[in-house]
Amino acid sequence: MSLTTGTFAQRLRGSVHRRAALPARMAAFALLLAASCIASAAPISLKDDRGVTVQLPDTPRRIVSLLPSLTETVCELGDCEKLVGVDRYSNYPARTQALPKLGGLDDTGIEMLVALKPDVVLLGISARVIDRLESLGLKVVALEPKSMNDVQRVLGKVGQILNRPEEARRLWNRIDGHISQSAASLPAAARGLSVYYEVDAGPYGAGSSSFIGEILTRLGARNILPPELGPFPKLNPEYIVRADPQVIMVGQRNAPGLPQRPGWAAVRAVKQQRICVWVPVESDVLVRPGPRMSEAAALMARCLREAAAGPVAWPSAPFNAPPGGMR
């Protein structure tokens, strides 16, 4: 109990300090705006993924993001310094790690969030926290990137909120171009390989309709899971053995023991040692539908290239991912 009050007091003190520093920061900001001649209190109105139209009086200056992919999008569009708080899974770019951590979507630290006085809170659609935040008078924009199209749309929306529509368009073109480059860089032998991407040892796989599956398709790989199974189906392990994939992609958390599963020794990917094991940093990139999608494509392309050339080595570093990620 005393611990909680202690941190609460610190939090309070922190917010007081911040408030004291605010006028100075705002003055600096106003100067900056005036200098770049884009100073305009243009109200923003946009429809978020709930279908709710959100009105913002002005381009927000204090932003809270509760989804790693949205955090990355804001930063990638050049407004990282406007972030005042993030969820506990946001860890990229590195500067976001120093920001106040507000928990996850299911256990958000409401009090701490409100104390940060954000102009807008960006979060996922599944958040129970939305109603609470809105009843406290905060502006909430729910965005849910799940597929590649979603990433493009969300990028556009965030660009609109940040008043950087041009940057958003250019960023999307860059991402799209990089994915095409990754696909074009693959040798003929690395194309058309059948792939099983394991999300979790359930076994849950990444289906063709998932965001990971879409990238695989762009790279010319054959996903063993057809789109009608949905994005992340829980499979009968026998299905994978029967599909006999040539390449398996799996996170380091679930990799140990995979070759020893009953019957899996006969799968081509296991027999020929074509299992790509992602270290946690790579997993972060691969599971987040955001601006680092092109990096995800490059990683998968690397895997396909190596697998086409011969056995793929497992990471030499032991698995080390402190709790709190989504790998």
Binding site: G202, P203, P237, E238, P280, P323, G324, M326
Partner: protein, 338 residues
């Protein structure tokens, strides 16, 4: 074995035949739904042979064994505590196993040393250790096995406390959410021959202990004092039965996760067919539970193949549905069936 009635023998035989039939069906249902091993098939024969031998056979036998273990544990618990609501998870086994698995998933990735240790212990090891430790904790809290009611209460408390511990660990480490959910709902997907061996040996040991104690359980139905006056060494019997029931539960839970309802429903099913002694109950319940879980597992593979339902959901649906029907048909509370 004390004298066994013809009816019991017939039931035993029928359940064995049912088990064998289900086993045959289990071999014929896989990731594409109905895909029998007999008849012409599209894929090469040796691949099919391998799928049958290395996946479907151990999985089907494993499901049967896990069901049998849970049902045996349930029958023991109901007899021991003279409570029709008793089930294998009574003494905190399930919460302990969840905590074991949650702690393992938490340790993986914490540091290289912790990861190496966790991988050596493995899911099954952690679940089994957790289940057994929970039972020991319940015994300590109840200060021995003298008082059935105190033991029950201790089991409930241990279950709640360890369960919230598991929930806390999962909350801190959301990576583990999906794995935890899979464990809580139960799955026979990865049961191989080694798991089958472990479960078969546990079943043999527990069955022997149970049958050895069956006369004492019969005496116990008349009340503790009467049982004692009949010359039963209750403390020893209780200790033995609790050890056997936690071994059975731990072995099943470690391999297949927390499968709901089989342990509760199987003994009730057996009793609904007519009055039985504990000797017969402890033989018939595992056969019933095995058939029930194997049938549920086949359903889990079949219904939305190649996807899979968690088998625990099916057992709850099957078992719960049957229980309701039974209650409706009899028009009496099930506790009175005994």
């Amino acid at each position: 074995m004390p004298s066994m009635s013809t009816r019991t023998l017939v039931q035993l035989l029928a359940l064995l035949v049912l088990g064998a039939l289900l086993l045959g069906l289990g071999l014929a249902v896989g990731s594409t739904g109905w895909s029998p091993w007999f008849g012409a098939q599209a894929w090469p024969a040796d691949a099919m042979h391998q799928i049958l031998w290395e996946i479907r056979a151990p999985r089907s036998i494993g499901a049967w064994l896990a069901g049998a273990l849970l049902a045996l544990a349930g029958a023991m618990a109901q007899g021991l505590f003279r409570n029709p609501l008793a089930d294998p998870y009574l003494l905190g086994c399930s919460a302990g196993a969840s905590l074991g698995v949650a702690a393992l998933l938490f340790a993986i990735g914490l540091s290289p040393a912790a990861t190496a240790l966790a991988l050596r212990i493995g899911m099954t090891g952690a679940a089994f250790a957790g289940a057994v430790l929970a039972v020991l904790l319940s015994l300590v809290l109840a200060r021995g096995v003298e008082h059935g009611l105190r033991l029950l209460l201790a089991g409930v408390v241990v279950g709640v406390v360890l369960g919230s511990g598991a929930a806390l660990l999962t909350l801190i480490n959301p990576d583990a959410l999906r794995a935890m959910q899979a464990f809580m709902l139960g799955s026979t997907g990865y049961v191989g021959w080694s798991a089958v061996q472990v479960m078969a040996m546990s079943l043999a040991v527990c069955l022997l202990v149970g049958l050895g104690c069956s006369r004492a359980l019969d005496a116990l139905t008349l009340g503790e004092d009467t049982a004692r006056s009949l010359g039963q060494r209750l403390t020893l019997i209780r200790l033995l039965l609790i050890a056997a029931l936690s071994l059975a539960t731990g072995a099943a839970v470690a391999q297949c996760g927390l499968i709901a309802f089989v342990g509760l429903i199987a003994p009730h099913l057996v009793r609904s067919w007519g009055p039985v002694t504990h000797g017969a109950l402890l033989l018939l319940s595992p056969l019933t539970g095995g058939a029930l879980l194997l049938a549920a597992d086949i359903g889990a593979r079949w219904v939305i193949a190649p996807q899979e339902l968690p088998v625990g959901i099916i057992t709850a649906l099957l078992g719960g549905g049957y229980l309701l029907w039974l209650m409706h048909r009899r028009g009496s509370a099930l506790g009175a069936v005994r």
